[in-house]
Amino acid sequence: MGKISLEVNGRKVEKEAPDNTLLSTFLREHLQLTGTHIGCDTSQCGACVVHVDGNSLKSCTALAADVNGSKVTTIEGLETNGKMHPMQEAFKKLHGLQCGFCTPGMVMSAVDLLQKNKKPSDKEIRDWLEGNICRCTGYQNIVAAVKEAATKM
């Protein structure tokens, strides 16, 4: 048991949690931020991707204790005053989702990509989304959405 102090979506949080608490569990069960999804739980599907200190990671494979003191951004932290983030807008506009389960992780990965590469090619987008699995869309509209968002960010 230890104290976990994080800044999550701009808000400081401090909670006691057992040492074996995963970041995904901490976000979902201790902070009720259930936008971060747990899909495979074996760090393959990417539904749990969040940003820690500006970089994307799979929150099901990081201990909360391990990222203690960090700044975390989840899918809930992307909107500004009720207005969707350009990446969310683009996913909506171009039908980059069907069931939506993978979408939070997909969007968080894609936002990280555009932070590092402002104008990615189709191949760069596909390579970057390697760790995010979608079983509905066939990825075409996801890639189109990321390209669209790149023109707005």
Partner: protein, 261 residues
Amino acid sequence: MKDFNYHSAKDSKEASKLASSSSAFLAGGMTTIPSMKLGLATYKDLIDIKNIKKLSGIKVSGKSVTIGAATKHVEVSNSKDVKKAIPSLSSLAEGIGDPQVRNRGTIGGSIANNDPSADYPSACIALNATIHTNERKIEAAKFFKGMFETALKKGELIEAIEFQIPEKSSYQKHPNPASRYAIVGVYVAKHKGDVNVAVTGAKSCVYNDKDMSKALTGNFSSSSIDGMDLDSSEMNTDMHASAEFRASLVVTQAKKAVDAC
């Protein structure tokens, strides 16, 4: 996942002092955490070594590239110094897993785990690496002992990996399309006196293929290993590839690597 005590060590001394027969060092956790979640491994204590400053960073000298054990794959793939000194090492790092794995996974963790399909062990063998631990220096050729086995003793911590800069080198991987682990990966490095052909993914542990090394030392051209019939009796067979296919892939990837040098 069963409960454990999490510790964050300040230096190598503290880390090894905390180590016991029921502990593990935690770096990126890309294997440790999934193994613990699946119940394949249980520890009483996890000793986080990422906050030990000395363990991160890249140093390049005239002859070698030294990478701290807790340096992440993304740092190796983005390093201009690595790209300049050993471009194949930078591209190897870029091909590990996916961006989120590369943002967390570390070189020391990969080597300590010695997964038979991991990428970095082949770099260590091909580039005559020296593994620096808190106790000694170990030659790569004596470090990788077998499947998930290394020469590390309990409580012994890898601090850095020193790679010899080769004249030419290339790493060619035939990746599993899902995990990006190597079904077969071959790292060819031409040094002043000889050529190393390190193979990962094919057997239970990384190895230097002596026959191909000899042929390429004599004549550094892919034609000198063309059609080589490797013994597949010790090669892995699984749902992804048969031993015979792997034996053939090793030659194909080695030829590709030589041509890319």
